[in-house]
């Protein structure tokens, strides 16, 4: 079964986010860009599926040229080929436009499954996977922590944790599965893997290459307009709980939680 993995490049989660002077974007100068952590589970699951069923794994990334590094990382882990959708007109696109570009790049590929992270840890929208499924006309299985593909490769059974329970869902294939932590433990790229990755095919495509009209992408096409980006609201100054001993501190804390905060 051939598999597609969509990945995004995001600031490393240790990054301190600084607001740019336009108050509509963030400062990107010192950011360390990494593969979106949730997408790593998608790459790993694709490789495990390939090891069991055979087929090819194609990695599709979207964004500036630096995204090539993350695609190469996936190739070094064991994916077979990469596609980078890169176009000056793409910058600032919203989730809808992003999914449309991905769908255009994927629709003519031969695939049985598409994996992508349940959300990007930058915008925290968690929408692209569902929109991609919509534009390809296939089912979505979101926030999945277990995947079992039927022996005949025609259907899949997944575990989807929701509040207080886990749903076991069966779906026809092809489908989009958005991946959650716990699905697997992503492998590290081996040194031979990294060497091999350099020779694996990585195609670059513009919006026009994909038969899309660039006017429908980018900042100006956004349906959700960013008015402002701000620092988180400041929390009021806290206090250090006084006391000579841990017992005294515990007693004072309990009193404060009861009398002042009124949460106990």
């Amino acid at each position: 079964m051939n598999i597609v993995v969509c990945l995004k490049q995001v600031p490393d989660t240790e990054t301190q986010i600084k607001i740019a002077s336009d108050a509509k974007s963030i400062v990107t100068d010192d950011i360390k860009w990494v593969m979106n952590p949730y997408d790593e589970y998608g790459v790993e699951e694709a490789l495990r599926t390939k090891e069991k069923f055979g087929g090819e794994v194609t990695v599709v990334g979207l964004g500036p040229k630096r995204v090539t590094e993350s695609i190469r990382t996936a190739l070094a882990m064991g994916a077979d080929k990469g596609i980078l959708i890169s176009d000056d007109q793409l910058g600032g696109s919203d989730s809808l436009a992003t999914a449309k570009a991905l769908a255009a790049a994927i629709k003519d590929l031969d695939y049985g499954l598409i994996f992508t992270g349940q959300r990007g840890v930058d915008d925290d929208m968690g929408v692209v996977g569902a929109n991609l499924a919509e534009f390809l006309g296939i089912p979505q299985l979101s926030v999945i922590e277990k995947v079992e593909i039927a022996e005949d490769g025609q259907s899949v059974k997944v575990n989807r944790p929701i509040e207080g329970e886990t749903l076991i869902i069966e779906s026809s294939l092809p489908a989009v599965i958005t991946t959650q932590k716990g699905l697997n433990e992503p492998r590290y790229a081996s040194l031979p893997g990294i060497m091999k990755a350099k020779k694996k095919p990585l195609e670059e495509k513009t919006l026009v290459d994909l038969g899309l009209d660039p006017v429908e992408f980018g900042e100006n096409s956004r349906k959700v307009k960013i008015m402002e980006i701000t620092a988180p609201p400041a929390r009021k100054q806290g206090k250090i709980v006084e006391g000579e001993t841990p017992q005294e501190k515990a007693a004072e804390l309990a009193r404060l939680l009861h009398e002042e905060a009124k949460v106990i």
């Binding site: 999914a99 925290d124 299985l141 929701i162 509040e163 779906s171 349906k223 988180p232 806290g238 309990a254």
Partner: protein, 327 residues
């Protein structure tokens, strides 16, 4: 011109979920400001008797879609029905709860309707009659304020436990309307074949009123017992930092932070958590934060309303005893 505010009710096994009351209350506030009607859409099977109660919280109309294929929730059936109803009625604003189900629904629905959507918002307002939403990005390291352009309905989801629930007014009644819709069985590609309940009584962290959380300072999985004792006493969920989860001490479903759950409890007690930015991002909307850590320079103290500089292994059991006095 699109008119009216719609909210999608969420129910499970016929019980209305709390998030529904949160968004009805918020929707009522917006509807009053706009001088428009608030409609609640309720989907399910044999669900009509639950509709009247929603009126007490401020809905003017309840549109009920009753069909055996609408229980339990599936993306395909819900998106099909709701998109049909939206196209037929043309609401101006559409609000959904940002629960696990609501996020799944809203994402696909936005694609079907080809409209913009703001996910997991913490505040709504109106500017010149347009919906303006505030939402955390980078798991709360920054916030963005957004609005909509040539995109109807203006669509957003609300983070659970953030919006306040209005006092129900039992004298208030809503008009209950049977929705007209169709479902094509060929569109239903997924099926729920089983449901595994979590351990009895365990509240999901995203819905918990209180959370007691442990990090590296817990030193090992066996020591979480002291957190569980405190948590049981105050009706709290038990969370963990990424390092505790990555060490295999706690299940990944307990992880709070940028690559885990984003939580908003009334009370968050962080024990032996230094406060890596990854973690702080996931709990910064908690109403009260308590930090217990023996390292007085731990960054967690800068976020805490109450900081206790001491060994958690002394403080937590003592706190459990002290709290009993107030219960």
């Amino acid at each position: 011109m699109p008119q009216g505010i719609w909210i999608i009710a969420e129910q499970r096994d016929g019980d209305i979920r709390k998030i529904t009351y949160e968004i009805i209350s918020e929707g009522r506030r917006l509807a009053d400001a706009l001088g428009q009607e608030l409609t609640t859409v309720l989907l399910g099977s044999n669900i009509k008797d639950k509709a009247s109660e929603l009126g007490h919280y401020g809905a003017d109309k309840i549109l009920v879609a009753d069909d055996s294929r609408l229980e339990p929730y599936t993306t395909d059936a819900y998106v099909s029905v709701i998109s049909e109803l939206v196209k037929a009625n043309d609401p101006a604003i559409l609000l959904i709860g940002a629960s696990v189900e609501g996020k799944d629904l809203s994402a696909r629905l936005a694609g079907r309707l080809d409209v913009g959507m703001a996910q997991d918002c913490t505040a709504f307002s109106l500017e010149e009659g347009n919906l303006v939403a505030i939402r955390p990005i980078y798991a709360g390291k920054a916030y963005t304020k957004v609005t909509f352009e040539d995109s109807w309905p203006q669509m957003a989801t609300a983070r659970p436990k953030v919006m306040e629930i209005a006092e129900p007014d039992t004298s208030r009644t809503a008009e209950i309307i049977d929705a007209t819709f169709s479902i094509d069985d060929n569109d239903l590609k997924t099926k729920i074949v089983d449901v595994a309940k979590d351990q009895s009584g365990k509240v999901d962290l995203t819905e918990a009123d209180n959370i007691v959380s442990g990090g590296r300072g817990m030193k090992g999985p066996e020591n979480y017992k002291i957190l569980e004792d405190l948590a049981d006493l105050i009706g709290a969920g038990v969370g963990a930092s990424r390092s505790a989860v990555d060490a295999g001490w706690r299940p990944h479903s307990d992880q709070v932070g940028q690559t885990g759950k984003v939580v908003s409890p009334n009370l968050y007690i962080a024990c032996g958590i230094s406060g890596a930015i990854q973690h702080l991002a996931g709990m910064s909307t908690s109403k009260y934060i308590v930090a217990i850590n023996k390292d007085e320079d731990a960054p967690i103290f800068q976020r805490a309303d109450y900081g206790v500089v001491a060994d958690l292994f002394d403080v937590v059991p003592a706190l459990t005893e002290e709290v009993k006095k107030y219960l």
